[in-house]
Amino acid sequence: MHAFDFCQPESLPDALKLLKEMPKAHIIAGGTDLMVLIKDLLLKPSLLISLAKLSDLVGIRTRKEGWAIGPMTPLWHLERSDSLRLTYPALHEAIRALAVPPIRNQATLGGNICLDTKCIYYNQSHVWERNLPRCLKAGGTLCHVAPGRKRCMGALAAETVGPLWIYGAELTLTSGRGKRRMPLKAFYRGDGLNPHDLTAGEVVTSVVLPPPGNRFGAAYYRFAYRKALEFSQFNLSASIRLDDLGRIDSANLVVGAIGPKPVELTESLSFLVGQTPSAALWEEAAKRAGEAVARMARSPRLTGYIRAIFPVYAERLLSEAFTRAKSNGR
């Protein structure tokens, strides 16, 4: 393996200082994806800065204004939280679908939020890569996924991002210069070369989930070629909010893993607002969502079979989100 140094600072300021001062330093959270990138020679850090000793970055704090989850909280911890399963079921479903249990014992929520994009051409061993001209992400000028494009189309396949998006998560980023807060949806730039709005020296230090509120339901589903240890071909997060008369107040569908950032289909679903929920409505909404996704030039992965089954899953998911919204009428 490529040689690097390793350190485990005792405080966040120490970690931020090292990150700023050391060229080619890289943060390591759980390391389950980072180690593979390093072994494949896709990343050659000079120093890994582990955040494992920063206990302030671990754990769930439930407050009136929402939940603050430390980014270094391991996924197994969130998976075993009954209150997380009841309050944010779509996020719980995404965590359960992510990789396999031993990986979830190591991996963290912050690590998943900052997960690099995945590409069937780029994420291979260097031996394999040599047989092809260099792609944009490898320092070349073309994209093998979407030939002719001048932008890296690596897929943002992180499972937790869609649910965090529909629950309206906010991130706090901290650097030596201070803090900034932003909605999670603004964190994804849409460029596989540099998918996150994370400037040099910055670290995600908090994830805040607002309370879902009354008559709100959300659900998550992913389609992958096998259940375990596979990145999604696409993942879906749906949410429905009902008004006090039981009509649809808002509906959202976020599609992940089909491009360098999640795709929000609010517009295709806007016709639902004010309507009385029915099975026919979910079918129509899923059809429109499927058409919108198919039109998107930025989803070259969404072809053939996957394109055909997309509306099937969208319909099931909207219906499930509605069922949950209905039972959440407190």
Partner: protein
């Protein structure tokens, strides 16, 4: 870098390279060879060790990250020459053929039964998602885990 951790019933204290994986360190330096190097990229589960009682991939952990940890491998299960009941159950139910995945399977069983002493077949399938076996077809492994649970409950 100097590290110190608990391995089974003993203490390991050694100088390691920062870029040395826990897997390579255990196999090549401590000579704990039950921990196998299969894919070396987190896909197969043959390098499973228990890290504070939870199964993890030792190929995706650096040896330096084990500093201060409590690590269990299959070598830590048998006591005074007597096999652990999980090992007995795997023998009884033929939960292995070539044996390469077996240490990982046995450690995963231990972690599962420590948390859930009476697992259903579905619980077992969930817990074993991360451990590949190319011989058994998994049926005997599931039977072994069920048998181990039964034996542990007495």
């Amino acid at each position: 870098m100097r590290i110190r951790f608990t391995l089974n019933d003993g203490i390991v204290e050694e100088e390691v390279h920062p870029h040395e994986t826990l897997l390579d360190f255990l196999r090549n330096r401590v000579r704990v060879t039950s921990v196998k190097k299969g894919c070396d990229e987190g896909a197969c589960g043959t390098c499973t060790v228990l890290f504070h009682g939870k199964p993890v991939r030792s190929c995706l952990l650096l040896a330096v990250q084990a500093n201060g940890a409590e690590i269990t491998t299959v070598e830590g299960l048998a006591k005074r020459g007597e096999l652990n009941v999980i090992q007995e159950a795997f023998l009884e139910k033929y939960g292995f053929q070539c044996g390469f995945c077996t240490p990982g399977m046995i450690l995963t069983t231990k972690a599962l039964l420590d948390e859930n002493p009476d697992p259903t077949v579905e619980d077992i399938k969930d817990a074993f998602e991360g451990n590949l076996c190319r011989c058994t077809g998994y049926e005997q492994i599931i039977e072994s885990v069920l048998r181990a649970a039964e034996m542990r409950r007495g």
